[in-house]
Assembly symmetry: C3
Homo-oligomer: 324 residues x 3
Amino acid sequence: MRLINDVKHVIEAQQLSRRFLDNTLFPLADEEGLRFVRRDFHKPLTGKEMVSLFVGESTRTRARFEIAMRRLGGEVVFSTEAGDKFSSIAKGESIPDTITIFDEYGVDVIVLRSQNKGDALLAAGVSSIPIINAGDGPGQHPTQALLDAYTIRRYRKEGIDGVATAFIGDVQGGRTVHSLAYILGKYEGVKIYFVSPEDRRIGPNITDYLKEHGVEYHETNDVREIASKVDVFYQTRTQVNLGTSTWDRSDPNHGYTIIDQSVLATAKSDAIIMHPLPCLGEINRREVDDDPRAVYIKTRGERVSQVRCGLFVTSALLQIILSA
Amino acid sequence: MRLINDVKHVIEAQQLSRRFLDNTLFPLADEEGLRFVRRDFHKPLTGKEMVSLFVGESTRTRARFEIAMRRLGGEVVFSTEAGDKFSSIAKGESIPDTITIFDEYGVDVIVLRSQNKGDALLAAGVSSIPIINAGDGPGQHPTQALLDAYTIRRYRKEGIDGVATAFIGDVQGGRTVHSLAYILGKYEGVKIYFVSPEDRRIGPNITDYLKEHGVEYHETNDVREIASKVDVFYQTRTQVNLGTSTWDRSDPNHGYTIIDQSVLATAKSDAIIMHPLPCLGEINRREVDDDPRAVYIKTRGERVSQVRCGLFVTSALLQIILSA
Amino acid sequence: MRLINDVKHVIEAQQLSRRFLDNTLFPLADEEGLRFVRRDFHKPLTGKEMVSLFVGESTRTRARFEIAMRRLGGEVVFSTEAGDKFSSIAKGESIPDTITIFDEYGVDVIVLRSQNKGDALLAAGVSSIPIINAGDGPGQHPTQALLDAYTIRRYRKEGIDGVATAFIGDVQGGRTVHSLAYILGKYEGVKIYFVSPEDRRIGPNITDYLKEHGVEYHETNDVREIASKVDVFYQTRTQVNLGTSTWDRSDPNHGYTIIDQSVLATAKSDAIIMHPLPCLGEINRREVDDDPRAVYIKTRGERVSQVRCGLFVTSALLQIILSA
C-alpha cells in the first residue's frame, strides 16, 4: 500500500511489494474465491461507503468494484459513469476539489477512473480517505495488474517466480502491460518477451526498470518464434481508444502478434492465455476459446477465469483497504 | 419462458404461451397489485442480484425493473444507462463477451436494452443466467407486450379472448405493436385494426403470423371509421428515435391516426385507450387525459394505469425468473 | 414548504419562511451535524424511496442527496445523470409525464435537476409526492440557498439578522445568488453588496424584492472597496455552462471581482468566504485556501465547511419532507 499522509492508497503498480501480494492480498483473494464457489458471502464491510467516479467506457472495472463492495456488505453511495462531466475539462473543477468534496461528505473510499495521467496521485495528495486508481488515462491501471498477477499465481503451483511471460500487441501503448511488468519485476527468475510491431516496441521507462531489477527480457515481432518457451501469453488490444496507436496490421513489419491455432500448436500444455479485455480481433476466438489454456474470459470445468480472478482480488483489496 | 441451455430467458413475445400468461404471470401480477395498494411489500428476492445494461433513452423501462427488483428485496448490483459505451460499436466488445463477464461475476439476472436486433438472443446463447430483453433496437420489446396484455386483461372481466384492438400510428415501425400483436395472436376470437398512413402499413412478418393463427385483421388510415368497434385503442408514437419513420402528418394520405374528442365521441363506453409512452402529439392530451377510458398514464379513481400495470407485471416476471 | 395540492414541495427560495428555517430546518441540520461527527447515523427514512432525475454536470448536488438519503436508511431506487435523455428535448416526453410515471410507480420523493426554468413548478403541479428542485436551468436552486443560509448561521452566533453579504462575480446570471438573496431578504438588518462588472449587474427581479423587504443593498465593481464591511463573501463562478455570460475579465470595466490576498488583508477577522462551487480562477486558491476564513470547501480544525453544511441541511430537509 502506498501511504500518503498515513492513508492507504492504490496509485501505481510499483508501490505494491511482493510481500504484500504473496502474504496478504493473494491469500485473501483465495478465500474470496472459496466463498464465491459456496455462495457464502460474508459482510465485513457493513456500514462502509464507496464512491465510484468513472469516465466512460469502463463498464468492467466499475462493475467489479461495485459488485464486490455490495457483496461484502458495503454500500455504493454514489456512482457516476459520466465522469468527464465532473472533470476539469468539462466543468472547470479540478480533481483535488472533486475528491475533497466526497472526502467532506464522509465516505470511506473513492474508486477513480480519470482521463489524465497523474490524476490518482493528485487525488491522493488531498484525500483523508483511500483513493483507488482504476485507470488514470494513459497512466496506470494497477488493480488490473493485481488481478493479472493473481491469475498467474493461481495457475502456477510454484508461484510467480520463474514465470516466462509474453506480452503481445501494442506493448508500447498498453497501460496494463506496463503495470503488470512492474509487478513481475518484483519476482525472481522472471523472463519477459515483448512481441510487437517494430514501431510499438516497449519504452525505456519499462526496460530501465526491468534491467534495474535484473529481469531478462527479449523483443520480437513474431509470437510463434517464442511460443514454446512461454508460460503466460498476455495478449493486449490495440489501444485505439486511448489515442496511442496508429499501426496497421497489414503492414509487413507488423509481424505476427495474434494468438491462433498456429501459436497454440507450439505452446506448452500448461501455458495460459490471458487478455485484459475487451478482446477484438487479436485472438482468433473461434480457434482459441475452447482450448483449456484460454482463461481470459471463461473456462471449461473447474478452472477459474481471469475475469473471475479479478472479482476475487477486488474483494480482497477492498477489505484490506477498508479494515482499520 | 424460453429455455436455452436450460435457462429461462425472455427474448421475444412469441415464446410466451397463453397458458403461462393466464395461469402464472397475470395472477402473480394481480397479487403484486394488491401488495402495492396495501404498501405491503414482501422480499422474496433477498440475496438476488440484477444487472441493468441499457443504452440511452430508456428511463421508464430501466426504472420499472430497478424499482421492482429493489422492492422485492433484490439488489441492483450494477446499472448503466450509457450502454452504447459497452457495445460492440463504441468499444469493440461483443454483446456475448459483455454478458459472459457479468455471468462470470456471478449475478442472477441481466436486463438488456441494446441497439441491434438479435442482441438479446445472442446474449442468451452464451449465458448461464437469465437474460431479459428490454428492447433490442428495432427488434422486440417483449416485456412491454406483457404489460400491455396484462393491462387489457385487467380491464376485461372476460379476458383477452374476443378483444378488438386498434393499433394506431406507425404500425410498421413500432416494435411494441409487433410484440403485442404476437401475444394477441395466441388468444381466441381476437380482432385487430391496423390504422396507419399508407406508407406505414404493417409488414408481412406480422400479417403472416396473424393469418396462421386465424386472427381477423383489417387495415385503414382513419381511426374514426372503426372507433365504434374497438375495445382497446393502442396508440403509438412515431418511431423517430428508432430511425424507422419519415412520414409527415401534413401529408393527406396520412389519414387520421390520432386520438381526440372526435374519436372518443364514437368509442364504446368501456373501451380503453393505451399508449406505450412517451406520448407526443398523437393523443390530444387536453381532450383525452380526463376521460375515464384513458388509462395510458394516470387514471381517475380506482382504475389502474397502464404504467402501474407495467410495474406489477415486472415484479411478477422477476419473481418467476428468479425462483428456483 | 410550498404546499401544492397538499403536498410539500421545494420549488423556489421565496417559498421558505424564516420561521421554518430558524425553528425547524436549521436545528435539525445541527443535529445531523452532531450525528456526522459521532458517525452515529440513525435510520428514520427506512422504507422510503427517492428518485434522482438529473441532467449532466450535477455531481455534487446529486451526491449530497443520494448520500444523505442512504445514510438516513432510505433507498435511492432510481438515479439518472443523463436526464436530458428523458427531457422533452431529447425524447419528446414532457416533464409532467415523466414525473407522473414515477408517481405512479409509488416512490416517495423526486429530486429533479432539469434544463428549463419553471420545470420544477410544472412537475409539482402534477405530482402527488414531493418534488425537490435541484436546479431548473437558469431558474433557481433553492436547496443551494438553504445550505448557504445554514452555513452563514453556523458561523454567526447572533444568527442571520444583521449580516452583511457581498455577492461577487456574475451576480446577474448566478442562480445561487438569486436564491440566497431571496432568503436573506427574510431577515432583519441585512445588508447586501453586489460586486460585478458593469454589464453583469443584478437584475430588477431581485432588487425589487429587496426594496420591498427593506433590504439595504449597494452595487460596485471592486470588492476591495467594501471588503472591510463584509461578514460573508459569497464568490460565484462565471456561469458559462448556463449560457448566461460572455464577459471578459481582461475588460477594464470588469473591475475587481476575485478574492485574493489583497481582499483578505482588509477583511474582518471573523468574516467567512463562501463559494457554491465548482471554483475556477475567481478565488486565488493558493493565497486563500489556508486562511481560516475560507470555508467553501475544506476548513482547518473544528470548523465545518460549506460543503459539509450542505450535507447536513440536505439530511434535515429529506427528513422533514418525508415525515408524515
